[in-house]
């Protein structure tokens, strides 16, 4: 009979309507600011720089690998220099332009020093684009514990590997130089 | 799977066209391109009735532009085979495949827009991606993007 198809279709919509009240999985909405979806561990949004103890002592050695690998070239690194003008193994400037970054995660993959990782933070809307969205070193640095909290599985693996590497370098270079243990991998 | 050597021999026998192997395709002289297409399309053995892909490559060093066609046979389910044709960079004219294969229409317009290849016999050869008043062919290797819009370094 003509019209049964339409009626069947309407039955589907009305069933979906009542499901929101009766069925356990009926309501699909997550009321965002109050409730949140469970965070996926691998979720990547923007990069952060990690440090072990002090915020001034980043793991980053300003090797410039991530800046060169970054497909849209959004990372700017300038090496720090000591009083004699000798380059140090830390960045003086480390800017990431969040208005260009495409969240691809290639910096994280290519970093040989476990220094740059992708964060979960996404509530970054700003009124101004110039100062607010070009992130400086200070705004990018996060403690390693933060990383351990957001990505426990990866953190465990990295910790184990780093511990192994540290013992290896310590065994190879004896006596170990005072600073090298943490940053040479 | 069609062997390119076999096609090359066949083309030489039936059409008398001298072709050469180049990479993954056959380099065909420009003047005989349409004959080759017609032969491949109508020959009972090949029946290449489907143009899968068309793209231009700019060889700046040789001062040539190469057009690569990928043909496929929908009846025999064989292919694709690559057919290549080269043309001079300055005087960039290639016979159009659109009368034989409708599917080449937009792809030829794209090659015209971005590489400046003029397809002779194309009924509606206009820019497709850029606007009409745009100057230059932006995908050519020597195209310099002059734009005041760009962030300029301090001297």
């Amino acid at each position: 009979m003509w019209g049964t198809g339409v009626l069947k279709g309407m039955a589907v919509t009305i069933k979906n309507f009542f499901d929101t009240y009766t069925s356990k999985n009926g309501i699909f909405t997550v009321e965002y600011p109050e409730k949140r979806l469970p965070e996926k561990e691998r979720f990547r949004n923007f990069p952060i720089l990690v440090y072990d103890e002090k915020p001034e002592e980043l793991r980053c050695v300003a090797c410039d690998i991530c800046a060169k690998e970054c497909p849209p070239k959004c990372i700017t690194i300038v090496k720090a220099k000591d009083a004699q003008g000798k380059p140090l193994k830390q960045p003086e400037v480390f800017d990431i332009d969040f208005t260009v970054c495409m969240n691809c995660g290639i910096c994280e993959e290519t970093c040989p020093f476990d220094a740059i990782y992708m964060d979960h933070e996404f509530e970054l809307a700003e009124y101004d684009r110039m100062d607010a969205l070009i992130y400086k070193k200070e705004r990018l640095s996060r403690p390693w514990t933060h990383f351990e909290k957001i990505r426990p599985t990866d953190a465990k693996e990295i910790n184990e590997r780093r511990a192994k590497d540290a013992t290896k370098t310590a065994a190879a270079v004896k006596p170990a130089p005072p600073q090298a243990s943490n940053q040479q991998t | 799977m069609i062997q390119l050597e076999e096609v090359k021999a066949e083309l030489e026998k039936s059409l008398g066209v001298q072709t050469e192997l180049s990479g993954s395709g056959l380099l065909v002289p420009k003047s005989r391109l349409l004959d080759v297409f017609k032969f491949l399309k109508e020959n009972a053995k090949y029946q290449m009735d489907y143009i899968s892909n068309l793209c231009a490559v700019d060889y700046l060093k040789q001062s040539q532009i190469e057009i690569v066609y990928h043909l496929y046979s929908m009846r025999n389910k064989t292919g694709p085979i690559g057919i290549k044709v080269r043309t001079d960079r300055q005087d960039c004219i290639v016979p159009s495949a659109t009368p034989l294969f409708r599917g080449a229409e937009f792809q030829e317009r794209e090659a015209f827009d971005l590489y400046g290849v003029k397809f002779e016999g194309h009924t509606d050869l206009r820019r497709i991606l850029m606007w009409d008043g745009f100057e230059g062919f932006p995908m050519r290797k020597d195209y310099v993007h002059e734009d005041e819009d760009r962030y300029v370094e301090h001297p």
Binding site: G5, K8, T13, F28, P71, M102, T110 | Y50
Partner: protein, 384 residues
């Protein structure tokens, strides 16, 4: 009423042709697409597509970038199906480099490709109905299912839409714990959803009246115009690259290629529904056969660690796969360096548009909208 009688009795009433530009900001052009339409009354006598409003110079950017660097850019071609775009590009480069992909990675690729097909076709059915005037309800249902699959993608690759998951010679990371169970649950819950969708739509008289015998594309013309994907299959041409090229490990799976008979909008809709069922079949087999092992070959791993230094032997290659929208091909020319010399995308939605005018001629304006919807274009891929 008197007016119509008058027009019927006066045969010589002349009408003027009207030129209308639909888009680029139009709710039903699926993005920034424009159609210049010449109308006689409400009947289309000429239609010229205008594009380029999303021409982002993808090809030129890729030619100035390391080989892996353009992998995240391929995500943004067809932003519904980033996984299949990744696979197509990886396939083309692997062909040139001659590296193998480990068994487990092959299975992961198949799983991701078929999940992507589900995502794309589900969303398309929703949007097609939106174009028909069923405002938002089918989109709501479709996006509800889509979100569940996007959650899977996020747990695997880290991003909902822009996955950047494939690497040359494998995939980026292994599947996380519990992924297969989650995916199995989604696959098991999909047939009821499809049935619901079908009950809502397939036999719906309004849908049939609007879609049947509209925008018919005949077999010969479809082949001549290089149409691919579900649009071609709806016209009755058996052409599925998964079956023909058997790229990856598709020869191991048992699935059918659904074909249409008439080649109208309705067939294109129904072919997609049937394809989703076949995808579910492939997924079930893949979950059964998925075995442990490495997910990326040694050579690929080295390349992924330092993309800047990855060199590809000189030559050219054309890699193609059956993306949800049709044949997605990458034509790549290498001069042996760290950057592609030429990088060309054979975009299915771009080439499928060639035939839009022929399909629309003689139909009404409202039909042009659903014909465009049934071709299933994504502007990121049309303009690149």
């Amino acid at each position: 009423m008197t007016n119509t009688i008058e027009t019927q009795t006066r045969p010589s009433l002349s009408t003027q042709q009207l030129e209308v530009s639909i888009g680029p900001q139009h709710p039903s052009t699926h993005g920034v697409f424009r159609m210049n339409v010449v109308l006689d009354g409400e009947t289309i006598v000429k239609l010229k597509p205008v594009m380029g409003y999303l021409h982002r110079n993808h090809e030129q950017l890729a030619e100035n970038m390391s080989w892996l660097g353009s992998m995240p850019y391929t995500d943004r071609l067809d932003y519904f199906c980033s996984m299949t775009n990744n696979i197509a590009y990886a396939l083309a480069v692997e062909k040139l480099m001659g590296i193998d992909v480990p068994e487990r990675a092959q299975y992961i690729r198949v799983i991701m490709a078929e999940l992507t097909r589900l995502v794309n076709h589900t969303a398309l059915v929703g949007f097609l109905l939106n174009d028909l005037g069923a405002f938002f309800t089918p989109v709501l249902y479709a996006f509800r299912e889509r979100e569940k699959i996007l959650d899977l993608f996020e747990s695997v690759a880290g991003s909902r839409m822009m996955c950047n998951y494939m690497r040359f010679g494998g995939v980026k990371l292994d599947l996380p714990d519990g992924f297969v169970d989650c995916a199995k649950a989604i696959v098991d819950n999909y047939p009821p959803f499809l049935e619901e969708m079908e009950r809502l739509l397939t036999k719906n008289e309004i849908l049939m009246a609007r879609c049947q015998n509209v925008g018919i594309l005949l077999k010969d013309l479809a082949v001549n115009a290089s149409v691919t994907g579900p649009v071609l299959r709806a016209s009755g041409v058996n052409y599925d690259i998964r079956k023909i090229d058997k790229y990856g490990i598709y020869d191991r799976f048992d699935f059918k290629v659904p074909l249409g008979t008439v080649g109208d909008v309705y067939d294109r809709y129904y072919v997609r529904i049937l394809e989703m069922r076949e995808s579910l079949k492939i997924l079930r087999q893949a979950f059964k056969e998925l075995s442990a092992g490495p997910v990326i070959s040694q050579k690929g791993l080295i390349a992924a660690k330092s993309p800047r230094n990855m060199k590809v032997p000189a030559g050219d290659a054309y890699g193609r796969i059956e993306a949800p929208k049709g044949e997605l091909g990458f034509y790549i020319v290498s001069e042996g360096g760290t950057k592609p010399y030429r990088y060309h995308v054979r975009a299915p939605s771009f080439i499928n548009l060639t035939i839009l005018e022929d399909m629309c001629l003689g139909h009404k304006v409202a039909d042009a909208i659903i014909i465009l919807g049934s071709i299933d274009i994504v502007l990121g891929e049309v303009d690149r």
